[in-house]
Amino acid sequence: MGQRRSRVGALAAALCTALVLAGCGGGGTAGPGGGSLAAVDLSGATFAVGSKEFTEQIVLGEIAVQALQATGATVKPLTTITGTTNVRTALTSGALDMYWEYSGTGWSTHLKREVKDAPKDPVQLYDQVKQADAANGVAWLAMAPLNNSYAMGISEAKSKELNITTMSQYATYATQNAGQASICAAAEFLTRDDGLPGVAKTYGFAVPPVAVAELELSLVPPETAKAQRCLIGEITTTDGAVSANKLLVLTDDKKAFFDYNAAMTVRKQVLDANPKLADVFNPIAAKLTTDAVRALNEKVDVGGELPEDVAKEWLQQNGFVA
């Protein structure tokens, strides 16, 4: 009798767990509810939203997906595509309808313009990119204050030991200690014109092959923190991994890295057919500051939270969704 009861009990517990898990699963059948986005009506429309592969892009992508769902639209998430050029190609070829891009990346990678010709003012840079990209069939919605530029990071210990807190100091060190100066980075930064090649040119230090440790992007911050294989490493200013690995951001005193303000890029046809997309993303962009987004990234990279949960929380806290 006791055995049968415990078996029934176990079955009931399993069923309950399964139901609870089913209820918890997945992000997205939220229909229009409270919050400011509920006032925008995009029901009946379907959008494919993409993103690049790093945490910030995944979080921003999730914000976009959930924001659109709150307006009643159906959303196809195509996040975590590796490589800027691949996401952009997906956009221009029609596989994607929109994704968050950065003004600096638009200038150097998509418009293929020289880094040295870029306007120093972030708003001017954004305006020029927006104007020029219209010819490519890509529309840029409002720019966010969020400036996620490339930067070089160094472990706090090495920074104190060698007294390196700016890029110029690193350049001096690299030139005087050719054997010891080395850089951890992933393939994209190593080959982009506005990546390491541009930095080395601006600061005037050489980058012999032995001074480069090419790694998978996610391995760069931990290896930079270990400071064995490299002295400095490729990071971005809002990267959660910076604080997770106790890295110091080297000051870009000669402004080798220009501005990378985030903005939603949409295929022109999609925007023309759905002009209300601007009403969805412009208010969101206004609230995306560098500090706010860094905090979101840290929640994922340091706190271990899921991007969907972080995105939902942020949208709720800012009154976009209920």
Partner: protein, 253 residues
């Protein structure tokens, strides 16, 4: 993962001298064609950083070193172990030992590299460990199969002639197993050339660096160059392996 067991069809597989020249000629032709394609294009700044002789040369050396060292380690680990596992006294550990090697091959190499990066380090030696784990199984199995497929009657006649167990092993079983073992080794070499492309993710260099850049930056030419070079290297090593098999095949087989 199928075992490539060489068919011992004596005499039929002997090629003419000219036949042996076909593969190198094809590989050289492919390289020439690749060069012509690259030379005919104006490379942009990103392509230039990877498709240049200096970078390719260094990548080739790194790739060869990774392949050579990992295959040598596989040879040293898997062949003696394979011989041991065919001994009657090892009957009980054969199952578990094979399971370990099966797992080594089943774990995706990139997953293994990440685990090693977390618990140990990145760089050349973790990459070699991942390569050894992946390619040890074929060599092990081929060694075991090679020895086990030696005709029982030949072994018995050896014992009958008064040879000790060890002498039977070294004078009869191993020489007869050499073709199969060498095939396994050749398989491991070719596997390692292909798998070594992921070594670029952990700062161990190789052709993978070229391929990864091409993929991330969406530059088809770069991807093509990296992939073709890797394939040519794999085929060249396979060819050299066949030559070695031919040369090292014991007389009378």
């Amino acid at each position: 993962m199928t075992i490539a067991v060489e068919q011992l069809d004596v005499g039929l597989r002997r090629r003419t001298a000219l036949g042996w020249l076909v593969t190198p000629a094809v590989l050289v032709a492919v390289l020439v064609a690749l060069w012509l394609i690259v030379a005919g294009r104006q490379l942009d700044s990103i392509e230039e950083r990877r498709v240049n002789l200096a970078f390719i040369g260094v990548a080739a050396m790194e790739h060869l070193t990774l392949t050579a060292v990992s295959t040598l380690l596989v040879l040293v680990i898997a062949i003696p172990l394979g011989v041991l596992l065919t001994r009657p006294s090892a009957r009980r550990i054969t199952g578990p030992a094979l399971a370990v090697f099966n797992v080594g091959q089943a774990i995706p190499s990139i997953g293994l590299l990440v685990i090693l990066a977390i618990v140990w380090d990145v760089g050349f030696w973790p990459a070699v460990v991942a390569l050894v784990a992946y390619s040890a199984l074929p060599v092990l199995r081929n060694t075991m199969v090679g020895i086990q497929q030696v005709d029982e009657s030949v072994v018995e006649s050896g014992r009958g002639m008064g040879l000790s167990r060890l002498q039977v092993l070294t004078r009869i079983e191993l020489p007869l197993a050499v073709p199969v073992i060498l095939t396994g080794l050749r398989t491991a070499l070719v596997i390692n050339v292909g798998t070594a492309t992921i070594a670029a993710l952990v700062n161990a260099g190789g052709f993978g660096g070229i391929i990864i850049t091409g993929l991330v930056q969406n530059r088809q030419l770069v991807t093509l160059v990296g992939s073709v070079l890797t394939a040519v290297l794999a085929l060249a090593i396979d060819y050299l392996g066949r030559v070695a098999e031919e040369v090292l095949r014991p007389r009378g087989l």
